[in-house]
Structures are given as C-alpha cells and as structure tokens.
C-alpha cells in the first residue's frame, strides 16, 4: 500500500499495455460507425414462424439485394414471442429512399414473408446523410466542449492549491487516458463482436469522462487538504501516497456500487442499451484505475520534474552535447 506512488512507472506501463494495442487497432481498423453517424437503415425483424437456426444470413442478404438493398449486413439473433424463442435478425442497409420509403419497406417485408412466413418488424430506423453529418458535427463539438469546460472547472476548483493548473492538466491527462482506452477497446470490440459507435456510445464516453474526473477530484481534494496540514518531515511523494490510501476505500466502494447497477443493466436491461452499458463498464474501470494509479502519480512526476531524468536515462551524459 505504501508503494502506490513508488511503483508509478509500473502503473503507467500497465495502462500503456492496454492502450497501445487499442490504438494500433484504431489506426488499422478504425471505429465501426453506427447509422447515427454514417447514415443508413437498421431493421430489427422477428421471424415468428421460424426457430433460431432456421435462418441463413446469405439468403436474407440475397432477398434484401433483390429489393435494391445490396450489401446488407445481417446479424442473426433470437427473441421471445409469447414464451417461444423465435429467430430474429438485425439487418443494416443503406438508408431508405427519402421520397418513397413506405413502398420500399413494404416490398422488403413482403419478399421476406414470402420466404419465411409472418415477419414482425420490431423496429426500423433510417438516417439520411444530412442528419448523420449533423450528428457527427455536434458529437465533435460536444466532446471538445466537455474537455474545455472541465479543464476550466478543475483549474477553478484547485485555485487555492499550489500550481492549480497542474491539477487540471493531470486530471485531463487521466481523462485522455480513459478516452483513448475506451476508443481503443471499442475499435477492438468492433472487429471482434461488431460493436458499433453510435449516439449512445458517445453518451457513455462523455459519462465516463465525467466519472473519471469525479474520481480524480476526490483524490486531489485529499492531496490538497493534506498539503495544507503538511508535517515538515513529509515529502510530496508521501503525502500523495497517503492521500491515495485514504481515499482508496471510497474509490473502490463507489466503483463497486456503480459496477453493481451497471452489471444489473447489462444482464437484464434490454438489448438496445447493451452497448451503452458495456462501454460505461469498461470506462468506469479505466476511470477508477487512472484516478488511483495515474493521475496523482503524474502530479509527483511533475513535482519532481522527472522528465529531466528520463533524458539522462535514455542518453548517457554528454551525448546531448554536439561533438566538437
């Protein structure tokens, strides 16, 4: 427990171990954008007369293609109707025609019914290009606005501590840690399980940001308090370590209660918010980790100006001087 600060480079390394693969995946595969941001249509269909396993993605793709929706992405699932389990499919296509969406929809449903019997359209969402472009623009603005406002707020909140900007920047760094981690994991999950980045994903991301800052503030608040009552023998490292240990039960317990509610939502809370909850869970774990193991340790690195040491370590003394 008294090594929380001392082992800081190990904690940083652990973070990088998760973040770097995510960033690599992000660079190679990018994010799988949902129809909110890329436009398109999402059909949630229930095949009441078919049991799970009786459907064939290729056949459904072909039916959609015959109705003018080439390249449909079909994902088979199952759902409950009157206590029976029936086959369902979530199909993503390009968006419906703006002038006559209704006949397009009817044609597809008729073609599917001809093949599979009665089809229930559970939900259908179509997003035109203008709307998705607007959503993307507002999303970018929202993320930037959130970061800026939180930085201002943190600086104000810690204005009485020495070097208030440091606290703000370290909290923001911890926040960027969480954002990068969530984006990276989302990219990996996009490849692995087809997770899509939609409006709810962004909601989860911004919530993660605020919770992460929330956790960091609690730890920083203790550091501020302990600095004021500082004993002359205590080093800055000691105070930070002491503050983390003091706030540890709280950080873990809050994490646990929120964790419980999220797991309940993940297990029972319905299909359509599952991605939201999954991202919240990942982000929350990351947020707690970064506030315990990264944010305060960064303060120590700054206080000791350890970057001077990094250069010395990587380059032997004298190497920086140009050869005569």
């Amino acid at each position: 427990m008294d090594k929380l600060v001392k082992l800081r480079y190990w904690w940083f390394a652990l973070s990088l171990l998760v973040i770097v693969p995510g960033l690599v995946s992000l660079a190679i595969f990018g994010l799988r954008l949902g129809i909110d941001f890329s436009g398109g249509a999402l059909w949630d269909l229930q095949f009441v007369e078919r049991a799970p396993g009786q459907l064939d993605t290729e056949r459904i793709r072909a039916i959609f293609a015959a109705q003018g929706f080439e390249g449909a992405l079909v994902q088979l699932t199952e759902s409950q109707v009157d206590g029976r389990t029936v086959a369902s499919a979530v199909v993503r296509t390009r968006s419906l025609s703006e002038t006559d969406p209704e006949s397009q929809r009817q044609q597809v449903l008729n073609a599917l019914s001809a093949e599979y019997g009665r089809v229930n359209q559970q939900s259908l969402q179509t997003v035109g290009a203008t709307v998705s472009a607007e959503s993307t623009r507002s999303a970018v603005i929202a993320v930037i606005a959130a970061c800026v406002v939180i930085l201002i707020y943190l600086t104000l909140a810690f204005r009485r501590a020495p070097h208030p900007i440091r606290y703000g920047i370290c909290a923001i760094l911890a926040m960027i840690h969480d954002v990068l981690l969530v984006l990276g994991v989302a990219s990996i999950l996009g490849v692995a399980i087809g997770l899509e980045v939609d409006a709810l994903f962004l909601t989860a991301l911004l919530t993660v940001i605020s919770f992460s800052v929330h956790d960091t503030i609690v730890v920083f608040d203790r550091i501020r308090e302990n600095l004021i009552n500082r004993r002359p023998t205590e080093t800055f490292d000691d105070i930070v370590n002491h503050s983390i240990v003091q706030t540890l039960p709280r950080s873990v317990n809050t994490q646990l209660t929120t964790f419980f509610t999220l797991v309940a939502l993940l297990l029972f809370g319905g299909e359509s918010i599952r991605n939201l909850v999954l991202i919240l869970l990942i982000g929350l774990v990351s947020g707690t980790y970064s506030s315990i193991f990264n944010a305060s340790q960064l303060l120590v690195v700054w206080e000791n100006r350890e970057w001077n040491r990094w250069f010395r370590r990587s380059a032997p003394p004298g190497a920086e001087a140009p050869a005569a």
Partner: protein, 474 residues
C-alpha cells in the same frame, strides 16, 4: 435530538408523503386534476418519430402552413399525444405514439391533400364529420388501428372493432387533383347584395368540371358538402349552376373566407416533404424494454442496498432508506414535471442510483475516521459531513457539466435519445445531493440519542473511544 433535526425530519416526511401521493395517485390524477401518470417515450410504448424535410427550398412561413396541414391530418387520425414541431427553416418533426402501422400513417400525412365535393342527397353534415367517399372509401381515420392510442386498448379494439370501416359511402362529384390551384384566389368582397359577403373563387378542370356543372345544375338550393381529407369542411347551399366547373364559395365573414381559401389552396401540402430520417419501434419491443428495465432497476437497487448494509452496517441501513426515498422522489418528479422516460433515460436513472450512494460512501468513510480518532458520535457525524462536502460538491459539478453538454448535444435530431439520459442523470445528481446531505444526515442524528446506536460494531469498527464514555455513563 436537536430541534433543527426534528424540523428536518418533519420536512423529509412531508416530502415523502407528497411524493407517495404523486406516485400512487389514483388514475394518474393529482391536485387540481393534473395528469401525473408516467409518460413513456416512443422507444418504450412503440410509435414512430419522423424528420420531414421540404424537397425544395422554401420560406419558414410555407413550412408553418405545411406543419398546420400535417397537424390537422394527425388530429383526423385520432391519435393522442402526437407531436408536430417545426425544426429549423425547412424541417418538421412528427411523433406518433402507439399506433399499429405508423409508417403508413406517415405516408398519409405527407401525401397530397384530397379536396372533394360530395353528393349527400340533400343531407347537411356537421363540419368535422369523417366520411367515406367513392374517391376515398377507406380513410385511415376510420380504420380500426388508427384509433388505438395506448397499449391497453390494443387488445380490446382488436376484438370489438369491425375490420371494415362503417358508414355510408358518399359519391364524390369532383376529384381533388382536378382543382386548378391558380384559380383559387384570396377572398374578395362580393358586392351584389347590401350586406358584405366574401367570396373565394375556384375552378375545376377536366372530368371534375363537367360533373360539377351537371350536379349543381340539377341541385339548386340543395346542399353540397366540401370534404377535405375525408373530413367535412362545410355544406353550403348551391345557388346556381357552376358553368365550366368554375364557381365561388361565399361566406358572411372574412374569417371564414380566409379559412376556406387556405384549405383550398393548401389543403394539399404547399411543398412536397421527404422523409429524411425515421425511427419506428413496435409496441411489443417497447413493452419488452419496459419489463427489462424494471428488472434491472430492482436488481440494481437491491444489490446496492445489500452492499451498503453489509459494508457500512447501521449507516448503510440509513443510506438504504434514503436511497428508497431517492427513488420515490425521482419518480414523483418524473411524473410531476413531466419527464418522458426513454430507455436511455431509465439507464441514466439506474446509473444515478450508483452515484447517489457515492456521497454516502464519502461521508461514511469520514465518519469512521472521526470515530476512530475518538470523537463522540454526534461530533463525528457533523465533522464527516463538513469534511466530505468539498469533494461531493466538486464531483457533482463535474458530472452536471457533462450532463448539460449532453443535453444540448441531444438537441440535434439524430441523437435526441441522449437527452433523456442526460436529464435523468442530471436530476439524479441534484436530488442525491439532497438525499445524502440532508436525509442521511438527519437520519444519523435521529438515531444518535438511541442507546443501541452507541455500538462500534454498528459502524464496522472494533473500537470507538468516543462512544465508550457514553456507554459507561449509561
């Protein structure tokens, strides 16, 4: 117990009583007959939300006319709680909850209006009556599914309603598409009689013109009804044969004339509308989401309560009571304001349960520290709240900032789902400040004088020096 705490306790009980009376209000009606039933969003009750955009550049005033036409048509559908809202300069947002075939309804809404003159065989029909005509024998408003408004009535209407609309079919004399819109002119004062009369000229072309001429020639001094989208507008008396399908509708007030003019001219939408985006959810999927949310909410609440009680013992029990009160007040507020609950909204609420206990966790951690240092229970309670406050305040503000930004972000049509999440989470943060800073504190002070409360075990401590004196004295 100090008198301040007694007042707080009375205040809390009062709030709890009011919240209870709202949540369990009979038939969803509260004081002054205010509707306080729970409002469910389209994703939970089923329905459709559509963003319509003008197909060509138009003025805002034209869009206002279009929105008016759509609103009139929706009212003719008989759907409760529908929304027609102008968005920006060239868009209309339409929300229709709880009907069976919402896509078809939307098609009807954005279709061109149908103006007909019908032969009622001498009968006067009341304005607003929905009729079947030979030109449009199956109006959507008379279809059984269109009258369904809530989930409850679906089953009942399905069993009792006939599958074919009832009522006589009136013969259409003219076809709306034969109306020559250029001939429809603003009302003019018709100066033939002494008192002022106002006239709106119109003209039909083609087959409709021929039939109108024939009909009016044979039916002078008899009524002929003007029907717009299957809804009777008025039944004027034929004064003379309309030669060439050309005529005018006279009224005694300018207001009526203006209205007729607008109906004739813009009965058809003033501009074609395109479906830019839409979201449709079936009622059964919505019901499934409601059930799932209730299970998730109860499981979340019980788990958090168990955790708090097992970990913090007596304060945990008090915090659990405060949490129940928090849930109760949240729903009372949702129903009173009202807040329309959506799936992300419920997720925001359930998430806020976890956040709501956070303040308690912070306070209890401080409480244990103070007790360990040997302070009395009473002094420890006050110290814990004072010490924990800055952290609670700062962290709440950080989350509130994010909620505000999310809420503004949710104003963009494509991501409007987010609004519900931001709203319930933000409300939860504010409300949890009340339940943790006031309710839990009052409860702690309330149990403080009770002898059994002076037991370190109840606070998950081996020893609390400050309590020893109190117990020895007892």
């Amino acid at each position: 117990m100090r008198s301040r705490d007694i007042y707080s306790l009375i205040f809390i009980l009062l709030i709890a009583g009011i919240a209870l009376s709202i949540v369990f209000a009979p038939e969803g009606r509260w004081l002054f007959n205010r509707n306080v039933s729970i409002r469910l969003g389209l994703d939970l009750r089923g329905g459709t939300q559509v963003l319509l955009r003008a197909a060509e550049p138009v003025d805002r005033s034209v869009m206002q006319t279009a929105a008016g036409v759509i609103e009139r048509r929706i009212n003719a559908l008989g759907v409760a709680e529908s929304v027609v809202q102008l968005s920006g300069n060239d868009r209309i947002i339409v929300e229709i909850p709880g009907i069976d075939n919402p896509e078809q309804a939307i098609e009807t809404l954005r279709g061109t209006g149908k103006l007909e003159f019908i032969d009622t065989k001498g009968e006067f029909l009341a304005p607003g009556t929905i009729v079947r005509t030979t030109g449009s024998p199956n109006p959507i408003a008379l279809r059984p599914t269109a009258t369904v408004t809530g989930t409850e009535s679906i089953t009942s209407t399905e069993t009792i309603s006939p599958t074919v609309p009832e009522g006589p079919i009136y013969e259409s004399i003219t076809d709306g598409k034969d109306l020559d819109l250029n001939s429809v002119q603003p009302p003019q004062i018709s100066g033939q009689s002494l008192q002022n009369q106002f006239a709106v000229p119109f003209a039909f072309t083609g087959e409709s013109a021929r039939r109108l001429e024939q009909f009016t020639a044979a039916n002078i001094q008899r009524p002929m009804c003007i029907v717009l989208d299957n809804q009777v507008f008025s039944c004027p008396v034929v004064q003379a044969a309309l030669v060439g399908g050309r005529g005018e509708i006279t009224t005694s007030t300018r207001q009526d004339a203006e209205q007729i003019y607008t109906q004739l001219k813009y009965g058809a939408l003033p501009v074609p509308l395109q479906v830019e985006s839409s979201r449709t959810v079936s009622a059964s999927l919505g019901q499934g989401s409601v059930d799932a949310s209730i299970v998730a909410g109860v499981v979340g609440l019980v788990t958090v309560a168990l955790f708090m009680i097992l970990f913090y013992r007596l304060p945990g029990v008090l915090a659990t009571v405060a949490l129940l009160l928090y849930t109760l007040i949240s729903f009372a507020l949702y129903q009173l304001i009202p807040v329309t609950l959506t799936l992300p909204g419920i997720a925001g609420f359930i998430l806020s349960i976890g956040v709501a206990v956070d303040a308690n966790v912070l306070i209890f951690a401080r409480l244990k520290e103070e007790l360990r240092r040997g302070r009395s229970l009473n002094a420890s309670i006050d110290a814990a709240f004072v010490e924990a406050w800055p952290a609670i305040r700062d962290s709440s503000v950080a989350t509130l900032i994010t909620c505000t930004i999310l809420f503004m972000f949710g104003n963009t049509f494509g991501v409007s789902l987010i609004k519900g999440f931001a709203l319930t989470l933000g409300m939860g943060i504010l409300l949890s400040l009340f339940t943790s800073m006031i309710v839990t504190r009052t409860f702690l002070h309330a149990v403080n004088p009770l002898p059994f409360a002076q037991n370190p075990w109840l606070y998950e401590l081996k020893d609390a020096p400050g309590m020893r004196h109190v117990r020895e004295a007892a």
